[in-house]
Symmetry: D3
Subunit: 243 residues, 6 copies
């Protein structure tokens, strides 16, 4: 099972070799691709809008390369519904997948993310995916997505603090890490919550989504064409990547 991880940005944020190895298990191999057309980071709805045309091009290239599924590597799930119209293989969003997994593990969930400005994207997703009844809130750690790689300790401390607040004060029964840049620190945060007396799952969105492609691919499942009609290409202007 060849899974394409599309980063919706033009700046490559390398997954390090350990992170990538961690994903290539159970019959999975992964490719990670970036955009030719798009923003340097995704922190707002406007950033998302600038990413999607480049994601369409990237997805079409990856389909040509023979991949079996696409995972969008950004908690804003940019282009999730669009790529589902464009390609004939399963497309997974990390926010949608993480929220659906929490729905099986816990009555409620909270999200910890990077910036206060990113919260409306997450509440949009909660509403669109039908999880409003389970969502207790979102907290930001006030670090930009391109800053966090170099400050893992500070990031982890702030995430643990906000996660504890969601669990203790807001009745969150599970926690979702609301940025794929937080990869790898879920277990540490889970342990700190357990030390505070709360035994709750903490979801690391990118890897859990990659592994969630397995049941779809094994069963031949993909998006419904009644919900996501196949897009018919038409004339577009102003996009060098598509000319």
């Amino acid at each position: 099972m060849q899974i394409s991880i599309i980063q919706p940005i033009t700046t490559p944020v390398d997954l390090d070799s350990q992170e990538l190895e961690g994903l290539c298990k159970n019959g999975i191999t992964c490719s990670v691709v970036n955009l030719h057309t798009g923003p340097c980071s995704v922190e707002s709805r406007t950033d998302k809008a600038f990413a999607i045309p480049g994601m369409i091009a990237a997805a079409q290239r990856e389909v040509q390369n023979g991949v079996d599924a696409i995972v969008i590597d950004c908690f804003g799930d940019p282009g999730l519904d669009v790529l589902r119209e464009v390609v004939d293989i399963p497309v997974l969003g990390v926010a949608q997948t993480s929220m659906n997994i929490c729905a099986s593990l816990a009555d409620t969930f909270g999200v910890v993310t990077i910036l206060k400005e990113s919260i409306p994207i997450i509440t949009d997703a909660v509403n669109a995916y039908g999880h409003k009844g389970r969502f207790v809130g979102c907290r930001a750690i006030d670090m930009r997505s391109l800053e966090i790689k170099g400050q893992v300790n500070e990031m982890t401390n702030r995430l643990a603090e906000q996660a504890l607040s969601l669990v203790r004060d807001q009745n969150a029964h599970s926690i979702i890490l609301g940025c794929t840049g937080f990869i790898g620190c879920a277990e540490e945060i889970r342990k700190r919550l357990e030390l505070s007396g709360f035994n709750v799952p903490v979801v690391d969105p990118l890897p859990v989504t990659v592994f969630s492609a397995i049941p779809l691919l094994q069963m031949g499942l993909k998006q419904s064409r009644e919900s996501y009609p196949k897009h018919k290409p038409k004339e577009i202007k102003g996009y060098p990547e598509f000319q």
Copy 2:
């Protein structure tokens, strides 16, 4: 009050002079603009995605020109949340405005639109705007958006038939015309429904939205920065219009 009507397409679909005059009342003047970057028509989520970057550029130009509000001339409300992040003047979507107006006039509403493939865009909007409890369904007349100008009689007949079905069989208490290309035929459809025994409002989305800018502009109201944080420009690649 100078209102900019942004058509999210590169193909100008002229509002004729009578239609435009009909909008320029009560202190309103209108400008109609098209895109440099974008698709030739909007009938899918993918079309919407290709329209939004060009709409951002158009909106920024219109703000430079001193307009007071922006109305997006497409029932898919493409870019509505994005433009609200980008500009500091009110941005109105015709679908959102029409649905909110129906919420004051009737317990339920149904939508008649162009193509079956466009229905998921409309149900997305119904959900995002919180109108699921009022929405009884959407029916398509199976005509493309660029065809309808030349076939107004056929279009009106099909719209009236689908509208009647929604009112009589689905308990719709009001009807929204789900494409701005249907401009001008609401009253005819309302009369036909009345002849069938149903006295219900039929909403023509573009003009009702233009006039709905008046209460906002008179009262100095615009989008909340808590829901739509101001976008901070960042580096983007692959967009000639922005270089």
Copy 3:
């Protein structure tokens, strides 16, 4: 466009000339009328009940006078559904209109009102109009409706304080002034919230509702007879105004 503003009380609460002038724009002229049958103020459901018969009589007189629309000048929206059954012109409630406008501007809203005892009326309205998912709460300033005209500074201070609490602590993304007696102080409260770091719309219900009649009147829209069947007069006893 001649709009009748019906005050659901027997005590005339004059809109001052500046306030009235502020409404008579964009082709609107306004008449303000009071009741012959009804209470001296509206602060409870019981007060509302005593107001409605007199409002029916007033509305019928105003229709005879040739007005084009009716606006009910009380945040409890007394008689809104009843008048819609009785007359054949659009009837607008200030609470319903304000809430629908907030639905276009912000994800959530909070309300500031006069008395704790009035809060159940407002939560009834929130539920009836389908806005429960957006409503974060209502706060009272503990001043009676007939007191506030003489204490505008105190009123404004208390409103700003409660509004700030709703925005900062309850996640309100917009504020509605929940009494038409608060007319004219929305901009001041908006500025104070902005000084505290929150850039959110503050809705002044009476004027925004008067201006919201424009899109309805321009488009010939009024209440659906499927939701509001036309009332057929029948014998009533005990109402001198109707004998």
Copy 4:
């Protein structure tokens, strides 16, 4: 336990002696009162509005007479929230009570009522009482409330037909008779549904509500003053009954 049954009309609709005897069991005695101020029948929101002031007067007289609880004898539940503000004894609405009882007996319910024009009153109630998720629809038999006493056979046939349609086609798991004038025919309708293969409860609203006062009175329960603040009398004009 002395229960006052308030008929919100000026025309006495006598409960016959058998009907009244059927209510006076288990320690209950009943008084039935009519209005001095009000309409001759209640079939619209406007009728309800004209009834409520007279109901307040009647309720106050009945409290003076020492009754222990008030039941409103009309499926529109006119004045339910108002009387709860006015008196200090429990006030029961037959629609609210019937819907709450169905919530314990079945997943869903449908309502059969008199006139198509009365349906919006019932859907208002369904929404206000929080039963939207259980309500499958309302059907009218097209007979006026003052006609049905003389045409019990015809009424029963039409009710059974509409009830069967709700159960068979709309998935109603229980039926509420949506007019207190239908008293006494629930068992007949239940039997007919059973003959068609559907074993479902059919609720007769007035008697089930009278008996539902017993648990409240035995336990000393009445309306919450947080939801229904006590009304403080104020000056009203135009109501001879209150002068």
Copy 5:
């Protein structure tokens, strides 16, 4: 009317003679039975699961004895839906009945219960019964169900404290005692809340449910067979009580 009160435990928790007398009014007589198969107390979903087979056997014996209705004496409503499939007489759950009664008395309710570990059972019930929109939260007093009989003062103090917190801080407009072991202290808690300025109903679940059988039995109402199809016995293994 002979009502069987089934305690879903093998340890008899005697209702004292005063408590039992309090239930035997208005034509009611009660029998109280325990289980042969089951747990010693019910504080978790697992305890509920071990109780239900024994409850089926007890219910079948009680039906043989000629009882008219069954009340399940545990706030977890164990076996409520199962017994409704098994027997042909009404089966009442104390949690469901209490919540439906609050729905008639107040806009919102909160629950006070025994242990933090029991809260998920109560939130499951709130969701299953459709009361999520009214429920403000549940607080535990941290006493086990078998401890409370001997510590009524301490129990009452803790209940009053938690109830006040729900009313004052969480906007609860009514309180439900979330354990049938709390029988008899509702009025004391109501008085203490009133002393703190909150005039709200406090529901004692077991007696209010026993009295709520009266309207059902008087009207011949019981569970719908569309929602609760009659169970057809089949072969089971490992249950000595059923061999």
Copy 6:
């Protein structure tokens, strides 16, 4: 990853070797176990109740055997919440997992199941798992769970017919096979729907759930102890399997 498939019945329903092989991929091995205490089949809530005690015993044995996760092999998800309290490894229900997967693939889903009497179990599950907004309905093929193994052609024909009706008439955008006995026929039904013009996913609940254990096990995720507190064993009577 060793996964225990617990069949909640005492009658072994062998998965054939091809079916079992189909599950043992991607690092998974499976064991299939039956009950000592329980019913011969599960078609009602009462059957579920008789199954759960035996499932607890079976789960405890399987944990002793060192399995990594438990899958409950019945679309009623019997004991799902109970086993999550009892064991410290992930427990997956096939109905919950299938519905969560559909939530990622399609806007709506319908279910096809065995008997009309089983439908309430499925609607209970839809409500408990928060999928009411997506669920369009459930259709039964009127075959008992122990009959279907021998009549695969007839079963497939009936399933395809009911699935088509849900998709074409009820707007289902995906289909869930609502009985684990239907294993292996999803692709055939999907093809028939495609021939009728509907390209929608058809979910085979048991294998998709087994594969869905992979993301949980790879990420160390299991049920939240805030939602599913650990059960503390207590004295029970009448269960030979536990003595």
